[in-house]
């Protein structure tokens, strides 16, 4: 398969490092294979000399048949343009070790921990290599292809026990424990000593301090979450505080780790579409979009013209709704309990009504298909969208702006409290509104356009201070820009078919790899999909903006007050479904 234009290589790494780099010549693959020992050196040159400053995605792949493990890096320039993909391959023999690139890009910290957790690849030189999504003591690394879960039945769906006969089988009956469990042979639960969280607390800096007179004083460690009203779900942060000032902070995640990727690798390509809905459950439309892009790249198929417009309309409505909710929830966190949130939920309901009208479901839309969308927009719904876009939403946004943005309490809580500065944000691989509020106008819709975004007129919203206030205001800016795009899209939408392909349950996906990325409301949402020609993806990885944006959380919070941490978490706009996957 020919490389699709977006992935065309622009730099010849092999010419620069003839002995250490070779072209990835596998069928359907692009990028460069880098020698493990030279990784750091080459990565430094990619970052500093070639200017690929934003390392967005790092993930591992288990090539079991070839007895290899691979780590894939996707680097981009914040000035825009296509990315650079480089990979390291190592033999699949424990211990599998690869040098960590955290010294160059601290933003890969959590991603490398995730790879260690799920695939068992050790990163030498990583400052704090603990499990991240599962707990210490868990048996095995679940994303390895030879690791089987308790309810394992077959490597790929549809399972023969149920299809095509349509039988019903309960997975409990097949498991010896009659439950979703698997234990090593001769396991004695009473003798098990849980590892607990010593490693976590050990990672917190400055736990005990000794002053000049030799008096030891303990810093207080506060656990926030996983059940806490302001953490937006089951997020947990362990904070060392002195008074109210944060000295050190470690996010603890994985409380909603529902094995999206393992399940995704058993599913057929199309079966994954409804699962993507449940990643960032506020924006199922955007999630569908990214996944559809990745698979369309692999299949090399066009998208129907009308569907292209529908996609943009849905993605932008979703963004408006997401940012509205963010503002409402942020105000909730700041203490303006419920009133602003009640107002914004009123608008959100109107947008959800549209989603329900076109897809049949309010939140879990499952609306995109490879090559188009599932259903057409009926005329009356289009009229409803027009009413919203031209009349109601702009007025309501202005109203919100008028009521909130100059409110004294809001201003004093938000203004001048830095979140992160531009260069550090890039280092920490932060994307989305948080990056743009720090003065870096990086928006994938412009930097590396997908869909038909290049046909619309809009500005990339940008603010320069990078404080909480800017993070709040940029959401309003983006709502306005989205409405601008929507106005053009609903006026120009052509008629015609809504899918370039015949509707089908099973799509044929040629072997190869693809990385589809979109500017989701929370940042860069990427899907890294590998097909080996079978009906199921060999590897299915989600680069979730929420997950990667919190890598810099400790840096953002140290030295600030606990109350600021709540607000920072509010503007980071995390969603646990996507963070933990």
């Amino acid at each position: 398969m020919a490389a699709t234009p977006l992935q065309t290589q622009t730099v010849d790494l092999a010419a620069r490092f003839p002995s250490a780099v070779s072209v990835d010549a596998r069928n359907g693959y692009t990028g460069w294979l880098v020698e493990k020992d030279k990784l750091l050196e080459i990565a430094r040159s990619i970052k500093e000399e070639l200017g690929y400053d934003l390392l967005t995605s790092v993930t591992g792949v288990d090539y079991l048949p070839e007895e290899k493990m691979e780590v894939v890096y996707h680097a981009y320039k914040t000035t825009g343009g296509p990315g650079l993909i480089f990979k390291v391959q190592v033999p699949r023999q424990d211990p599998i070790e690869i040098p960590s690139v955290t010294p160059l890009w601290p933003g890969v910290d959590f991603q490398e921990r995730e790879i260690w957790d799920l695939l068992g690849i050790k990163f030498t030189g990583h400052p704090d290599l603990r499990r991240i999504l599962l707990w210490e003591g868990f048996a095995g690394h679940p994303l390895r292809k030879d690791w089987k879960e308790g309810f394992y039945e077959e490597d790929a769906k549809p399972f023969k026990s149920r299809w095509p006969e349509g039988n019903y089988v309960s997975s409990e009956e097949k498991n010896p424990y009659k439950d979703n469990l698997s234990f090593p042979k001769n396991f004695d639960p009473e003798k098990w000593i849980p590892e607990g969280e010593a490693a976590l607390y050990g990672a917190l800096a400055r736990y005990t301090e000794t002053d000049e007179q030799g008096i030891k004083s303990d810093r207080i460690v506060v656990n926030m979450g996983p059940q806490h009203p302001s953490t937006h779900g089951v997020f947990r942060a362990v904070v060392t505080v002195e008074g109210e000032t944060i000295l050190s902070l470690k996010p603890v995640v994985g409380y909603l780790h529902r094995n999206h990727e393992k399940i995704g690798e058993r599913n057929t390509f199309l079966l994954n579409m409804p699962y993507t809905d449940r990643l960032d459950y506020f924006n199922s439309m955007s999630n569908n979009f990214g996944y559809a892009l990745a698979v369309e790249k692999l299949m090399n198929i066009p998208v129907a013209e009308r569907a292209d417009y529908i996609r943009i309309i849905m993605a932008e409505l979703s963004r408006v709704q997401n940012h509205l909710v963010l503002v409402g929830m942020l105000l909730n966190d700041l203490g303006a309990m419920y009133t602003p949130a009640l107002y914004i939920f009123e608008e959100r309901e109107l947008i959800l009504d549209i989603f329900e009208a076109v897809s049949g479901s309010r939140m879990m839309c499952n609306y995109f298909r490879f090559g188009g969308v599932a259903r057409d927009i009926p005329e009356d719904v289009l009229q409803k969208i027009k009413d919203l876009v031209f009349k109601r939403l702009p007025a309501k946004t202005d109203e919100m702006d008028r009521f909130l943005s100059e409110n004294e309490v809001l201003v004093s809580r938000l203004k001048g409290i830095p979140v992160i500065d531009g260069p550090s944000a890039v280092q920490y691989s932060i994307t989305g509104p948080v990056l743009r509020a720090a003065g870096i106008p990086y928006d994938i819709r412009r930097a590396d356009p997908y869909g038909i975004y290049d046909r619309f007129e809009f500005d990339v919203a940008m603010r320069t201070h990078g404080d909480l206030m800017d993070n709040y205001l940029i959401r309003l800016d983006e709502i306005r820009q989205s409405i601008r795009i929507l106005e053009q899209a609903v006026s120009k939408i052509p008629s015609g078919p809504i899918n370039s392909q015949k509707p089908q349950y099973q799509v044929r996906v040629p072997a190869g790899e693809a990385y589809g990325r979109i500017e989701a409301p929370k940042g860069e949402l990427g899907y890294y999909v590998i097909s080996n020609g079978k009906p199921n993806p060999w590897r299915y990885h989600v680069r979730a903006p929420s997950f990667i944006n919190i890598t810099g959380l400790e840096k953002m919070c140290v030295g600030k007050k606990i109350a600021d941490f709540i607000a920072i978490l509010g503007v980071l706009d995390i969603v646990l479904g996507e963070l933990d996957r």
Binding site: L134, W135, G137, F138, A139, G140, P142, D146, W147, K148, E149, F151, Y152, E153, S171, E172, P176, Y177, D179, N180, L181, S182, F183, P184, K185, N186, F187, D188, P189, E190, W192, P194, P226, Q227, P229, G233, V234, G254, Y255, L256, H257, R258, N259, H260, K262, I263, R266, Y275, R278, Y281, L342, F345, E346, R348, E349, R362, M363, M364, L576, G577
Partner: protein, 211 residues
């Protein structure tokens, strides 16, 4: 005395006092108070939690049923709406929260995930239904259930409360603590302390050692 007798006192109120005196049973009074102010724990697990929040907002207005007071602390709440996927990593915390709630306490499993694992049932980190650990009163189907469905489920809960009697509810019984649940342990997989003997026995019988 049977429950029937307890619930129909059998006293006639003289006509001249009928506006001043009401005679009822302890059960009815008790249930009426309970059902009209069920305070849910402010506790969201996953996607379903968003619909739970939406049920509180103006369009659906859960306040009509006395359930708008979401309490972030378990110590003040009567109802745990398990709104989302229950994972193995989270279940110790959920059980702990449940144990911390004062009686009477009710559990609603909202959505496919909480009821039985839902779309993620096969996942290695997913508990296939919160009822493996907590006694669930009401199951609400849906993925996610619409706010209307949630409200319908909560009305069902109210009907269930109406039928309760202080003589039979779990939490006023004698004997071993029937309300507290042992906290699961995170081992190589999730360990339910109530099943220790069973786990040991089965694991000695399995053929293969897991990687």
């Amino acid at each position: 005395m049977t429950n029937e007798n307890l619930n129909s006192p059998g006293y006639e109120i003289p006509a001249e006092m009928s506006n001043l005196v009401a005679i009822t049973t302890l059960d009815r009074l008790y249930n009426w108070g309970r059902r009209s102010s069920v305070w849910p724990l402010m506790f969201g697990l996953a996607c379903c939690a968003i619909e739970m929040i939406v049920a509180q907002t103006a369009r659906y207005d859960l306040a009509r049923f006395g359930m708008e007071v979401m309490r972030p602390t378990p110590r003040q709440s009567d109802l745990m709406i398990v709104s989302g996927t229950v994972t193995k990593k989270m279940i110790p915390a959920i059980v702990r929260l449940y144990n911390q709630m004062p009686e009477p306490k009710y559990v609603v499993a909202m959505g496919a995930c909480a009821s039985g694992g839902g779309p993620f049932k096969e996942g290695y980190n997913v508990v296939a239904g919160v009822d493996k650990f907590l006694p669930v009163d009401i199951y609400i189907p849906g993925c996610p259930p619409t706010p209307q469905a949630l409200i319908a489920g909560l009305i069902k809960l109210q009907q269930k409360i109406d039928k309760e009697s202080i003589r039979t509810v779990r939490w006023y019984r004698k004997g071993p603590d029937s309300v507290n649940i042992p906290i699961p342990i995170l081992g190589p997989d999730l360990i339910d302390p109530r099943r220790n003997a069973e786990l040991r026995q089965i694991s000695s019988g399995i053929e293969t050692d897991k990687v």
